[in-house]
Symmetry: C2
Subunit: 185 residues, 2 copies
DNA sequence: ATCGTTTTTTACCATAGGGTAAATTTTTCA
DNA sequence: TGAAAAATTTACCCTATGGTAAAAAACGAT
């Protein structure tokens, strides 16, 4: 959901040539899944074009949106990619999407060869940690309505690409509650 | 709240000598603050001994616990330390506590000199991101009661050191609700 | 453009958890 | 050890959000 100047398609495609990374692409039509629960996630995905939604299923089988990922941003299933735990995340294309697949080995090659890549990787991970940390604070101190308004301000693109039901579960409420909130605004 | 073998007091104190880091200590009595909102947070803190609570204030001035930090684990105010934003976190000693102060420069020295420190720093940041990420999932799929039971299982030490009101706000509920939940178990 | 499907809204009642206040228990420390 | 302070529980009613179901609106394929 956030972009960095350093991990950009321009830089990645240059490094791909310079260091013979042999990066693969995947192209998805709207509605297709890049990753499913149960499949191992061996890649960091970099979104060249399009828009992705990361979700998982609760006990009743409802889809809970966990994250959105737009052009020039990265996404993965961290518990699977970093810790080799069973993957529970689905990654779905909300529009026609192209991604670069970056394996752990390829990422290591980048980090070992590109000056400041190691530092920038830490910055990116810190961004993720801070973003999730802030989201917990917002859940604990803001109403669903003000979280909704904040999301509109911070990430207006989501509202053009995702269904309201996706946004509702991202905010931690039902789509009926979101509908009620929208009515009151 | 989680420890790593790599960033341990043993290793840090060795590096301190080996690379002339000149690390400072701070000692806190139970109840004292290591950091206050408004103060800049220039350090990564490593807990040598004791137990810390990280909290912030909501609009009404209620303390909301965001994190606990035990012996051999690290803590900081990431928005202040990494991004130089205004610090909103308080860090309070829940028992007599000693910490090592690690400045950004000192951390850089470690990362540049100690083999694998860079990788281990990324692992640590990924742990933080995943832990917060998992907490959001738990908030969105579990009842307060099952989050309480999970916390007891995962971090029993917290229940020896923190007040129930600290735990309640960490779980995102009032202390009255936590009391009700405890009664039903 | 139209029919069928999907998405969103509305309406109804149910419930988990919040807010206030007071009672009770535990801790602190003189 | 006993009084004061702090922490926890209880009780009351209240509110935001949930669950189910159905209606309405929007979308999409032919």
């Amino acid at each position: 959901m956030f972009q960095t100047k350093f991990f950009s398609s321009k830089n990645l495609l240059n490094w791909n040539i310079q260091y013979n990374l042999d990066l693969n692409n995947a192209s998805l039509k709207k509605g297709e899944l890049l990753l499913e629960a149960g499949q191992r996630c061996d890649y960091f995905y970099f979104v060249l074009k399009g828009f992705l939604r990361v979700y998982y299923l609760d006990i009743e089988g409802n889809e809970i949106t966990h994250w959105f990922s737009s052009k020039e941003s990265t996404v993965t299933s961290p518990f699977s990619y970093f810790k080799k735990e069973e993957n529970i995340l689905f990654i779905e294309a909300l529009e026609d999407t192209d991604v670069l697949l970056i394996s752990a080995n390829q990422l290591n090659t980048i980090i070992e060869n590109v000056p400041s890549a190691s530092k920038e990787a830490r910055v990116l991970l810190a961004e993720f940690a801070m973003t999730f940390s802030r989201r917990i604070m917002d859940i604990h101190t803001k109403t669903a309505e003000s979280r909704y308004l904040k999301l509109m301000t911070d990430y207006p693109a989501i509202f053009q690409k995702a269904k309201l039901s996706h946004i509702a579960s991202f905010l931690g409420i039902t789509q009926q509650s979101l509908s009620r909130i929208r009515k009151n605004i």
